[in-house]
């Protein structure tokens, strides 16, 4: 079922949690709401679920306006950040809760719960109580409980937030496969960009109660709409420079930027990701920058190199693959040349932050 959020505004006192938010989620997709804390992503999720009311604007489920409907009647499955399992009930009773309050027949409850426990791979755990389970198991009980009522929409608030790194990694992949199996429209909230990109079909980046960008992970990562998204999606080198005659001038170097052919000089900011910079022993062309190696950190599949440019004393972060690193034989203190393969330009006056 598709979901549409139209012109939603939500305030808590003087704090604007959501500022005229519009969002369309197509049926059967898996969407991530990504943003720093306080960006309004959880509030948006709760408004979609009906656990929070919007001050203005509407929520639609498949062309139907559900803004005034209580969460009971919206048929959503909600998985809470800290699971909110009923601590005095067994796993079986937790999962059965939604069916019991709807007065489903006993044999139907029995078979449905068994089926769900199997789906989340917790067969044989039905008689346990929540405190007897590990974090990942509780998470899956919460998921089974939300799915028991056959929701049209599944909403998850920071589903992996409270788990340790290894379990989180496993559950991410599991959620992805799981969604491919059950195909219910799913929205989850996260502040972890890696998680959003790994699991979701589509990513919505939020900041200060607004949606900054909405697209596939690839689109968002390759074409960030603005400096905030660029910055939020991971490490980035930021250079202040000027544009003129199809060139970007940064300190002592110049790089081709055909999108700006004008003669009038304009201040601009260039954003370059660490893996988009190359290190060489000899200068490549006019776009390479002399820099001194400060620190090297071979980390997994890449070597992270921290450098300082010679004339402007800018700090640079570069990631090169391990083969290249071995080939160069870098040591702290070496003087090398750094050249960008690609970069993005934003005009500071367009994005006054």
């Amino acid at each position: 079922m598709s979901i549409a959020v139209k012109n939603v505004i939500k305030r808590f006192g003087n704090f604007v949690a959501l500022d005229d938010v519009n969002l369309d989620v197509s049926g059967g997709s898996l969407l991530a709401l990504l943003g720093p804390s306080g960006s309004g992503k959880t509030t948006l999720l709760r408004i979609i679920a009906g656990l929070e009311g919007a001050d203005r604007g509407t929520v639609h489920y498949h062309d139907e306006d559900v803004t005034k409907r209580s969460p009971r009647d919206r048929n959503v499955g909600f998985v809470f950040q800290h699971y909110a399992l009923f601590r005095h009930m067994t796993v079986f009773e937790n999962v059965a809760f939604g069916l019991r309050v709807r007065r489903a027949p006993k044999d139907k409850i029995e078979s449905r719960v068994r089926e769900l426990l199997q789906l989340v791979r917790l067969e044989g755990f039905g008689g346990r109580y929540p405190p007897q389970l590990s974090g990942g198991q509780r998470q899956r009980v919460a998921l089974a409980r939300a799915l028991a009522v056959e929701p049209a929409v599944l909403l998850l608030d920071e589903p992996f937030g409270a788990l340790d790194a290894k379990v989180r990694q496993q559950l991410r992949q599991w959620l992805r496969r799981f969604h491919d199996e059950i195909k219910v429209t799913t929205i989850f909230v996260t502040h972890d960009q890696e998680e959003a990109f790994e699991v979701a079909d589509r990513v919505v980046v939020m900041n200060n109660g607004r949606i900054e960008q909405h697209g596939t992970p690839q689109e968002v990562f390759d074409h960030p709409a603005n400096p905030f998204v660029m910055d939020f999606l991971g490490n980035v080198n930021v250079f202040q420079g000027r544009l003129q005659n199809g060139k970007m001038l940064l300190g002592g170097i110049e790089m081709a930027y055909p999108d700006y052919p004008h003669g009038e000089s304009r201040a601009a900011t260039a954003y370059i990701r660490p893996h988009e910079l190359d290190i060489d022993r000899s200068p490549a062309d006019a776009s390479s920058l002399r820099a001194k190696v400060l620190q090297i950190n071979p980390n997994g599949s890449v070597a992270k190199v921290r450098l300082e440019s010679e004339n402007s004393h800018l700090e640079l972060n570069v990631e090169i693959n391990l083969d290249r690193y071995a080939e160069l034989g870098l040591r702290p203190g070496d003087l090398v040349h750094v050249a960008p393969r690609r970069f993005r330009v934003f005009f500071p006056e367009d994005y006054a932050i």
Binding site: R72, F86, H88
Partner: protein, 307 residues
């Protein structure tokens, strides 16, 4: 096992090191024993001793032969449960309002709940007399409509409920605050209505705190004297409760009778105390059991078992 032994081994010398010298310990312990003995143990034992001093038969006759005493016992057994029930309803409603909603006047409400602890019970009784008594604001209207509150059962219940108002609410507020609204919100999202949320989620989570509040509330309700004294008019055989009856018998120099009723009241208090200790043990055991099971059950690690 090993970890336990280790913990004991390191804790032992530390404890010895921390202990105060005998010169301080012995007088402190003695002072404690003497104070508890003189103020609590001897008087309580004496109540039973006096009551039974003429034998068990006399004791029994003192309790059941006097119609006024029988009525007083009955009246206490009527007033206390009704007050407790009213306080359960009020306590849950107040705790729910205070912990689940943010509204203006919330802090004031929390403070007002404590007010009956601060006000002298006699003053509390007087307040009701001034409101509902014949000379009070509502007195003439109530008399015209044939309703008696002061010097009657409703007044006793009103005064007792007022004095015991904080007990249930004060037990529930911290517990419900600690539980948080998450489970109730989860139930709501799963399609439960308010009533189902209350009975299936809230009540099971607060039942021990509620029972604890009920026990304390009941003890106080049965023993209430001051407020009830003022509103009851202490009419023998009509509005005398057990504490009032004790005082009246004592005033009439009927010491064996007085002590018999007093001993019964004390027995009820001791029973309450036992129930309280049992409940505390039970909840502590339940918490400990939960923690132990939680750590002892081998955790089949998450996705490891999936194909």
């Amino acid at each position: 096992m090993d970890a336990d032994r280790h913990a004991v081994a390191t804790a032992e010398p530390q404890r010895r090191f921390r202990q105060d010298p005998l010169l301080i310990r012995i007088p402190l312990i003695l002072a404690g024993i003497v104070i508890v003995g003189v103020l609590i143990v001897i008087p309580v034992v004496n109540v039973f001793y006096q009551a039974l001093s003429h034998g068990f038969g006399t004791y029994w006759r003192n309790l059941v032969d006097d119609a006024d005493t029988r009525h007083a016992i009955l009246l206490t057994l009527i007033v206390a449960p009704i007050s407790v029930a009213l306080n359960v309803a009020f306590g849950i409603a107040a705790a729910w309002a205070v912990t689940r909603f943010r509204f203006s006047g919330r802090t004031l409400l929390v403070t007002m709940i404590d007010l009956p602890f601060a006000i002298s019970p006699v003053v509390a009784g007087l307040m009701f007399v001034l409101l509902f008594g014949l000379q009070g604001y509502f007195g003439p209207w109530l008399r015209d409509h044939g309703v008696r509150i002061i010097f009657a059962l409703p007044g006793l219940i009103l005064a007792t409920t007022f004095v015991t108002l904080p007990f249930v609410a004060r037990e529930l507020i911290p517990v419900m605050e600690a539980l948080g609204p998450e489970e109730e919100t989860a139930a709501l999202s799963l399609g439960a209505n308010g009533w189902q949320i209350f009975w299936r989620v809230t009540v099971p989570n607060i039942k021990w705190a509620l029972l604890y509040g009920v026990i304390l509330c009941n003890a106080r309700a049965m023993g209430e004297f001051g407020a009830v004294y003022v509103v009851s008019g202490h009419i023998a055989g009509q509005t005398d409760t057990m504490p009032l009856r004790v005082q009246k018998l004592f005033d009439e120099y009927n010491n064996p009778g007085s002590f018999a009723v007093a001993s019964m009241l004390t027995s009820l208090a001791l029973l309450t105390l036992l129930a309280k200790v049992w409940l505390e043990r039970k909840t502590r055991r339940e918490i400990a059991a939960g923690a132990r099971i939680g750590s002892a059950v081998p955790r089949i690690d998450d996705i490891g078992e999936t194909p």
